[in-house]
Symmetry: C2
Subunit: 403 residues, 2 copies
């Protein structure tokens, strides 16, 4: 038969992400495009024990659960945020999702009508941009400097576009790994209040702090918003980068009307996430042999080592014309290509060499992306990273030599 797809679907089907992902399945292929954590650091042994305990507790574990997610895990989250992140949130304000991606999809489906304006920190995560495009949002990029969104620009855009949402990651954004300073956080929150804009705060990478000596972290906008009770911020994140992606457990926390609305939409989208996996996570996190903070410290130490290696490689002659800012957290370096070099063209040349990166266009709402690429340092092993960076560097050098 002739298939006729929905109008907004069609553009998504031709995304270059598909080609990258198909290549990445080949054994010899090296992908620095992925959003994969290091699997060597998964607590697999402890999860095996947790699975045994959880399944031994009886068939309830395997039944449908609450659509909001396993309550003890929501309680654990709110207690953990309360202790470490200065929030005061009730478990009824939390919806467990299938990763951050689902939290984004649900809030956008809840709030955005076709043609509604949405502001996004620029660059931003590819997954967010795809959801907004699918929902028919008018996406407005907001400019940043090294300390966060530019407040004056933001205010202009709020006045001009009356946006429904502002999507941003103030702590270790995907792709830049940057951090907003405290003043900027307060100013942005204040603007959202005055212009009635819901701030969607993506904290997916917020625990991946590579600046090991930092000590104190800036509070989230969620915490600044009356400890999470102000209703101005939806706080989203997941365990995918810190424990393990296959458990598919993330969250959205915020005002009750928003969480309830997202819960109704979640039932329509997939009824509920796996409460078995949520129980597994809860058992792991509350078990005597696992220490969450030590686990994060170990993760950050290892990622910090991997980042150092990538930064060393970026100093090699092959990469001489590129520039970058050292990320403070997360899993990526956002690299500016030599003048005139287009990241999509570069990717086309790199794929046949057996290597991929994320072309900047997929992380940006404006045109800036064409001049950037995103490199992942958390997943590849040492040899893979050396070879992959060499192959990409060569491809860049071939372009620049031709000029």
């Amino acid at each position: 038969m002739r298939y006729s797809f929905a109008s907004r679907t069609v553009s998504l089907l031709s995304s270059p992400l598909r080609q990258i992902r198909e290549n990445a399945r080949l054994n010899s292929f090296i992908s620095l495009a992925e959003e994969l954590p290091a699997q060597e650091l998964f607590p697999v042994k402890l999860l095996e024990e947790a699975a045994r305990d959880v399944l031994a507790s009886g068939p309830d574990v395997l039944q449908y659960g609450e659509p909001e997610g396993f309550k003890p895990l929501r309680e654990w989250l709110t207690a953990e945020w309360g202790g470490r992140k200065n929030t005061l949130v009730d478990p009824s304000q939390v919806l467990l999702t299938t990763g951050t991606q689902q939290a984004i999809d649900l809030v956008v489906r809840l709030i955005v009508d076709v043609g509604d304006s949405v502001l996004v920190q620029n660059p931003t995560s590819p997954g967010c941009l795809q959801v907004l495009s699918m929902q028919g949002a008018k996406v407005i990029p907001v400019v940043s400097d090294g300390n966060g969104l530019l407040v004056h620009e933001l205010e202009q855009q709020m006045k001009l576009h009356c946006p429904k949402l502002l999507f941003a990651a103030p702590t270790f954004s995907n792709p830049t790994g940057g951090v907003w300073d405290l003043g900027r956080r307060k100013d942005v929150l204040d603007l959202c209040r005055r212009h009635n804009v819901l701030f969607v705060e993506d904290d997916s990478y917020g625990d991946l702090d590579l600046n090991l000596k930092r000590g104190e972290m800036h509070p989230s906008l969620f915490a600044l918003d009356d400890g999470g009770q102000g209703g101005q911020v939806l706080y989203i994140g997941s365990f995918s980068k810190t424990i393990a992606p296959a458990l598919r457990t993330g969250w959205a926390a915020g005002a009750i009307p928003v969480i309830e609305g997202m819960t109704v939409l979640k039932q329509l989208a997939d009824m509920q996430s796996s409460t078995m996996n949520q129980r597994l996570l809860h058992r792991l996190l509350t078990g005597p042999r696992f220490n969450w903070h030590d686990h994060l410290a170990q993760l950050n130490k290892e990622y910090s080592t991997r980042l150092k290696l990538m930064l060393e490689l970026l100093k090699r002659p092959l990469w001489k014309e590129v520039t970058w800012r050292v990320p403070e957290g997360g899993m990526y370096v956002w690299v500016r290509l030599p003048d005139g070099l287009d990241s999509a063209m570069l990717l086309k040349a790199a794929l046949p060499k057996g290597v991929a990166f994320m072309p900047g266009g997929l992380c940006t709402a404006g045109k800036e992306g064409a001049s950037h690429i995103r490199l992942n340092f958390s997943h590849p092993g040492r040899d893979e990273l050396l070879l992959g960076m060499n192959l990409i560097g060569e491809t860049i050098a071939e372009f620049t030599a031709r000029r």
Copy 2:
């Protein structure tokens, strides 16, 4: 702040399902409204062993997997369908989803633009109707008799509305438990071909055959469509009713362009379902101590016993003015109330007594639903069923006595 939700979201937020579900969490409450399988029959011990084996195989299990789902499970499914259901399908034609619900949501998002017409078997599953309403589809109910959709009516509606999809469950529909005969299956498939309508075949309950002496089942429309190669049918279902809901594993199988499109949308919706859970299922299904066909036979024997009890209770004097057709499969009896009695009114009166059922309006696109209720017999234990049926019967009798 003042929250402003998307226009189509608003109606969903006031669904009576929410109130039923909230009541159902109370310990003393009896719900015959749910779509829950009997947890006594979950293979919990064998899943515990499967979890041990799967997690012992190393950290790969916990990493992101293929967005299409764990390939060996897709291979198992296509082999199982090939052996028992007369299909000839490649694993690349299968997408694993978070239950049937997600399969419905994804295909509707892929294909339906606001205002597009979609035909639905009437009555049909509440989850399907909610997705269609959220996507802004124009939902056209199609009338059936005891042998399936009325072909002449269907043809008229295809000519009149040029629908993009026809959604139906030819084998043990939710809520009626009816079965289409072979002639009707062939006629409907033929009409879909001639009018270029994708047939979405919901087989969620297709393995729950309560007519234990049946032996031969009618082929699915998917099988009739060149063994699944014709591209006219999307075949959806899940393990939620046959193994365990908390594994959140369902599927969509069909033509490559549709499956690829749904896979792209799935990445946007939640990246992927839990490949760990998919591995668990695969390990269970291929393990030496589990026999899939014996398991289904045991399930059907138990459900058939539970159905008999419900049918006995329906013959009691309290229920004297209701009518029903004995379901041939599935987990529900679809009951017609005494003339003039409205199912939503009845529910309002039943909830304070501590009992719920599914009001027919949630299962119907037209007005027919007001006169029906759906009763679940798979989940409640014997005492719960006795008490619950008594309470509902009393509520009905109070209404009829007043006339």
